[in-house]
Amino acid sequence: MSESSNEPGRAGRLPLVVGARGGGICVAAILAAVGALFAWQASLLDLGHVGLPGPGFFPLVLAIVVTALAIIIGVEHWRAPAGGEKVALFHRDVLIVMAASLAVPLVFSALGALLALGLFAVAILVIVGRVPLLLAIVAAAAFVATCWIMFEVLLGLQLPVGPF
């Protein structure tokens, strides 16, 4: 957890600071829940038997192990002294890049790849890179045009064109 001791830089205006203990328990709980979900789904498949396992056997065993290990990790964190290390999560820039990245596949087909990626670039350059809007638009347009030449014209890759 080396990151936990890092001083937030310029990007760190809005970090969510959580205790390593509480955060660790939460992450372990999520992992245990994922393991339990897989175990439940695997139990619906044909398990076969120990000698000749079916398609559900291997994932069921693995899911149970993941759940068990996650519970052990959670207990370890729970036993750790309270008020110890802190972990800074989701700095402003991180949140913005995450949100913008998750928006890309949403609009990738609808707007077309080049427009979607261009908007992504402008948003990141302006909000995270603090580049003036006009310069960001020019830079994004130039980069997207380069991508178009390189991937579509030269390499013949078919990217979604959207409504245009």
């Binding site: 992992l31 695997a42 044909d46 000749l52 398609p55 890049v97 990245s101 990738f108 013949g156 990217l159």
Partner: protein, 503 residues
């Protein structure tokens, strides 16, 4: 003699203007993606995969392979000068490389890393040339039960050598194996965890997961520290190592070559693991283990040699058996298949120009990289002076296009983005991503071989211990796990005892 004759023919292909040009492009791009945090050989190869579609298969493979070993070289530069591993295999180099740089010894660290990489890469090529055919026959003879033990051994080694919490590493390994079961069951074709989505039938895209978990999460983590990058740029005259450096690093280079060679040839074990193992071995063999972590040159020479020694031998199972041994060679397999070239035992007879052209180009590529990396180290470091926030959209956009180009699927972009966010959170809480990805690659084969072995033996588990080789491998694995379990139990009990004492 036959091999030399074929090698000369291979050099004729590799030394053609096209061969040289695309080898250079591959090495240069590989070095760049190795230098830039968030891009590694996987992303670099995926991004340029479409470029090979219009090329002769030999030339295309020469370029992609150049990216692979170029990234190994490039990764060491930023590890030593900035303490940022350009790619996962350079993580270990950060430990002592950056300490050396802080002590004003960046030049010798870079020089030894480059020379070690060259020696490791060349050594593994000899293996590819001379040991591939008999070893291929031996590997063909290996049954699925041995493969199960080998894979478990690999995972056991990862659990031992990975940094951080062992139980978190074990969780990541198991999670990787579990995620690898998503998609159609290889034996019965029953869909598992697809929730009716046909895009998940083939499983989660490995390229999307790899770029998300490693690349995107790295970008997010680096955004938090974007002002802390301070590169140490050595002058060319400072590159010459001292006699003591050569003396200390020579045995490490020799051992690193062997370790990289072994790990490269074992299917499923990546270059990342070879660096951890090499570091652990050097620390064990060192007369001054306390120097490790404080600028020991053997801690740079061993891992850097090992990760380059992997590149040659990793080609053996791919080219001789048609089995990719590490993720990067899986991309090479895709490229070869796209070009209608089927890697396997017949490759050397049906398409010798592909095999020997590749071998020859790797010799040339190693020389290109040696020439490229040392004098131009300042240029590559300057890439890091570009504000990181400006690089983010460039890296993400190229990654998106690269991931999309493999299957033309928006689902893959979703997988990349979501796994990037998940990877960021997990890494903040000290979960390692490399064991997860490695287990993901191995999981399919582990399950397939496990079930096939049981089917062949009629459900008799003794099939896993009925050969001396298996017993030896199993014993090593058992020993590793026992040591690991003892260490964990001892540490756990000790902490309980300390707590009780404190109370």
């Amino acid at each position: 003699m036959e091999s030399f004759h074929q090698l000369i023919n291979g050099f004729a292909v590799a030394l053609s203007w096209k061969g040289l040009l695309y080898c250079f492009i591959g090495c240069l791009w590989g070095t760049i993606v190795g230098v830039l945090p968030g891009l590694g050989p996987l992303a670099g190869m995926t991004l340029l995969l479409p470029l090979t579609f219009g090329l002769d298969p030999t030339i295309g493979i020469i370029m992609l392979t150049g990216i692979f070993y170029g990234a190994m070289y490039g990764g060491s530069t930023t590890s030593i000068l900035v303490r940022i591993p350009g790619e996962a295999a350079s993580v270990v180099t950060c430990i002592d490389g950056y300490e050396m740089a802080k002590q004003g010894r960046a030049g010798p660290a870079l020089m030894i890393a480059a020379v070690g990489s060259f020696i490791g890469g060349s050594f593994s090529l000899l293996g590819l040339m001379f040991i591939a055919p008999p070893l291929a026959k031996l590997m063909i003879a290996i049954g699925p039960s041995v493969e199960v033990v080998l894979i478990l051994l690999s995972l056991g080694v990862i659990a031992v050598v990975s940094p951080g919490s062992r139980i978190k590493t074990a969780t990541m390994i198991t999670l990787g194996l579990l995620v690898g079961t998503i998609g159609l069951d290889n034996i019965t074709a029953v869909p598992r965890f697809t929730f009716g989505n046909p895009n998940l039938s083939g499983g989660l895209s490995f390229a999307a997961l790899a770029i998300g978990l490693f690349g995107l999460s790295e970008i997010l983590l680096n955004l938090e520290n974007s002002q802390t990058i301070k590169a140490i740029t050595p002058k060319l005259k400072d590159l010459v190592p001292r006699w003591k450096d050569i003396r200390d690093s020579s045995p490490a280079i020799a051992r690193g070559s062997i370790i990289g060679f072994i790990f490269g040839i074992i299917p499923g074990v990546s270059h990342v693991v070879s660096t951890f193992v090499s570091y652990a071995v050097e620390k064990r063999f060192s007369k001054n283990p306390e120097e490790f972590g404080k600028g020991a040159i053997a801690g740079v020479a061993g891992p850097e040699t090992a990760n380059n020694a992997v590149t040659g031998t990793a080609m053996i199972p791919l080219l001789a058996l048609g089995i990719p041994s590490i993720p990067a060679t899986a991309i090479l397999l895709s490229a070869l298949t796209i070009h209608g070239v089927q890697p396997g035992p017949l490759l050397m007879t049906t398409r010798p120009e592909v095999f020997w052209g590749l071998v020859a180009s790797m010799y040339i590529g190693n020389v290109i990289l040696l020439v490229l990396n040392l004098p131009l180290v300042g240029l590559f470091v300057n890439l890091l002076r570009i504000p990181y926030n400006w690089l983010v959209p460039i890296i993400v956009i190229i990654s998106i296009i690269g991931v999309y180009s493999v299957n033309s699927s928006v689902t893959d972009i979703w997988i990349m983005m979501i796994s990037g966010c998940v990877g960021y959170v997990l890494r903040k809480f000290a979960y390692e991503m490399a064991p997860l990805l490695l287990a993901l690659v191995l999981g399919d084969r582990l399950e397939g071989s496990f079930r096939l072995s049981l089917t062949m033996s009629g459900g008799d588990y003794a099939t896993f211990v009925d050969r001396s080789a298996i017993i030896v491998l199993g014993s090593v694995l058992g020993l590793l796990l026992t040591i690991q379990a003892s260490a964990w139990i001892f540490g756990y009990r000790k902490s309980l005892a300390d707590e009780a004492e404190g109370a």
